[in-house]
């Protein structure tokens, strides 16, 4: 390594202008790739946090009721023989004579109709909880009993989603506590946390009572102990959070839950977790990737575009390095020739140029990383939302930086392959004579 490395370094220092150009080119490429990657990563993390940060990544629900099926027997038109039925329209005169040997067959007609779903529940959820919590990658598990109800106060009446939760567990899935605008984040018996819009609609203030009705006989008086603002008005109007037990008794699923929510550490692992659960549990299990197909394809599209940009930039960098090094081989023909004449092997000459590529790639990575850092700092400082805060956080991950630097160095070496081969193949006798 010693000889090729020393020669490579001297060659680069000798052609200082070329070397600086090369390093600047690589640095620009590395900076663009790093910046784009960090930007899209930040954007995606933000999108995922905003949408998936408030919803479960995997939901476990009871299997729906099977469709209603009714059947009735209809006499089949008589046929001459069971094994030789005439085609329609080709009946022979004898077909009118029923064959006494054949009993009238029956055709079964089935009428299927989706059934109105009763409130289904998972009754044995309690022992399931520790099992789900132990699964690798699962960070939160929250049982929920929910159903439609009416919230009433005086003349006012609103359709709501009554959501019974174990508050601390639910908070780890939906971060409800962060959205509280008034009151305390505690749910005792008879307490409810309601949205700001619903409170306005019903004229409810903090501490006021309202009734929740499910049918004629099931009515419960609740007290609004806290108001939240989820940032989406429809959600604020609909979702009313009550203790799990209250919801269970109101919805008629004592001891049961209608849904178990799971949050996973890495959101893109949700579907594989859901698949594993499907194989083991007799429930309907959905991941966010199934329910939020559009979000997923949007994220995918972004990722693909990023990859495309990165690939194009890398190719440009490789071509840039390669062309400069090819010129350098031509410029240094005589020196390569004399070194070969003095006993430097083809392998050593190959090494000289591969190392030049690697050095340029590595030096460009360092400069590019610094440039990317500057660009990201500038972006965070200059591009701000209406509230004056950065639109979304962009972080320069050390792992990503290391990967990009490694890729740039590998690109440098790859770019040097063709020039290095030319240098190694150079006929020393010819090179010296020219």
């Amino acid at each position: 390594m010693g000889f090729p490395l020393r020669i490579a370094v001297r060659f680069l220092l000798e052609g200082r202008f070329q070397s600086v150009l090369l390093v600047v080119g690589v640095a620009a490429g590395v900076a663009v790739v790093t910046y784009i990657t960090a930007l899209i990563d930040g954007l995606q993390t933000n999108t995922i946090r905003r949408t998936l940060g408030v919803q479960p990544h995997v939901t476990v629900r009871p299997v729906k009721d099977t469709p209603l099926a009714g059947s009735l027997a209809v006499p089949r038109p008589p046929t001459r023989s069971s094994g030789n039925a005439p085609l329609p329209g080709t009946a022979s005169p004898s077909a009118t004579v029923p064959s006494p040997a054949v009993a009238p067959a029956e055709v079964e007609l089935t009428v299927e109709q989706p059934r109105a779903q009763r409130t289904q529940s998972i009754d044995n959820w309690a022992p399931l909880m520790p099992v789900l919590e132990m699964l690798p990658g699962v960070v939160a598990v929250s049982p929920m009993a929910s159903g439609a109800a009416l919230a009433q106060r005086g003349e006012g009446s609103r359709a709501i989603a009554l959501i019974g939760v174990d508050l601390p567990r639910y908070d780890r899935i939906a971060a409800l506590s962060e959205k509280l605008v008034a009151g305390r984040f505690v749910l005792g018996p008879g307490d409810a946390i309601i949205g700001r819009e619903l409170a306005d609609d019903l004229g409810v203030q903090l501490g006021d009572r309202f009734t929740v009705a499910l049918g004629r006989d099931t009515v419960e008086s609740m007290r609004a102990v806290a108001l939240y603002d989820a940032g989406i008005r429809d959600v604020n109007r609909r979702n009313v959070y009550v203790p799990l037990r209250t919801a269970q008794s109101l919805l008629g699923v004592p001891g049961g839950v209608t849904q178990i929510d799971l949050t996973v550490e890495r959101v893109f692992d949700a579907e594989s977790l859901a698949q594993r659960l499907r194989a083991r549990l007799p429930f309907e299990i959905e991941s966010w990737m199934q329910t939020n197909g559009q979000l997923l394809s949007a994220l995918d599209a972004q990722s693909i575009s990023t990859r495309l940009i990165r690939a194009v930039v890398m190719i440009v960098v490789v071509l840039g390095i390669a062309s400069v090094l090819v010129v350098s081989v031509v410029q240094k023909r005589k020196e390569i020739g004399i070194l070969r004449a003095m006993g430097a092997s083809r392998g050593q000459m190959t090494g000289v140029f591969l190392l030049q590529g690697a050095i340029v790639g590595a030096a460009g990575s360092v400069a590019g990383a610094a440039l990317a850092w500057a660009m990201i700092t500038a972006f965070s400082a200059l591009v701000r939302g209406a509230d004056g805060r950065p639109l979304f956080p962009i972080a320069l991950e050390p792992g990503m930086l290391a990967a990009v630097s490694l890729a740039a160095t590998v690109c440098g070496v790859l770019a040097a392959v063709a020039p290095a081969r030319r240098a190694a193949q150079l006929d020393p006798a010819q090179a010296i004579r020219l």
Binding site: M1, G2, F3, K334, G337, A341, G343, A344, R346, A429
Partner: protein, 231 residues
């Protein structure tokens, strides 16, 4: 040069053609038989295009013969692999060219010590001391830290001679080493080679157009039209 000296180079029936297999195939060496002995100080003369440089490149293992047998220190060398030829060149031969061909990115000492670097990847204290001693021997002790561009033509060629002798090769091949120099510098370079030949027993084969140089060599090999006219 004595008859008893063992041969370094023994060529038999060496032929060299260019463009083999093409319509313009040309044979430039037509069967050369030549023996160079240890410690010899020989000149090779001949008109331009007579094949001097080709023969020198063949002896210098920079080109392969099309036919014939080449023994270097008793080892058959014409059939060796490229890497083996490179190693033989590195260990057995030194080169001095018409143009100095020093590496511009390295100073005089580093240029002289380059063969050590090719061999071991570094220039250790011993190698550095030898390189400096050789530079002193060619009268350039003061110039050791200078780059080739800071030296005159004669000085550059003296560095090139020191470089060729760095690894004490048994044979130095010089292709018109004085061709680019004024008379005084030419004489100095010649004397230098002569002195190393005497002092260290290094054999020299010097291709030259200059009859004054050829006349002062121990042996004159003359090439005419790809054949040896005088050996």
């Amino acid at each position: 040069m004595t008859a008893a000296a063992p041969p370094i180079v023994a060529l038999r029936g060496i032929r060299k053609s260019y463009g083999v297999g093409t319509p313009v195939e040309t044979e430039v060496l037509h069967g050369i038989d030549l023996v160079l002995s240890a410690g010899e100080f020989a000149a090779m003369i001949g008109p331009s295009g007579s094949g001097k440089s080709t023969l020198l490149n063949l002896i210098g293992l920079l080109e392969r013969p099309t036919a014939g047998e080449y023994r270097l220190r008793d080892a058959r060398i014409d059939a060796l692999s490229d890497d083996a030829l490179t190693r033989a060149r590195r260990d057995m031969l030194g080169f001095v060219f018409q143009f100095h061909h020093l590496l511009p990115a390295f100073d005089a000492v580093e240029n002289v010590a380059m063969t050590a670097m090719i061999r071991t990847g570094r220039v250790d204290a011993t190698a550095r001391a030898r390189a400096e001693a050789l530079l002193a021997a060619v009268g350039l002790a003061q110039a050791r830290g200078k780059r080739p561009s800071e030296l005159s033509g004669g000085m550059q060629q003296r560095v090139a001679i020191a470089r060729a002798l760095m690894h004490a090769p048994p044979l130095v091949l010089a292709d018109e080493p004085t061709g680019n120099l004024d008379t005084a510098s030419s004489a100095a370079i010649f004397e230098l080679m002569r002195r190393f030949n005497r002092e260290s027993g290094t054999a020299f084969l010097i291709v030259t157009h200059d009859p004054r140089i050829a006349d002062r060599c121990d042996r004159v090999i003359e090439m005419v039209d790809g054949r040896l006219a005088r050996a």
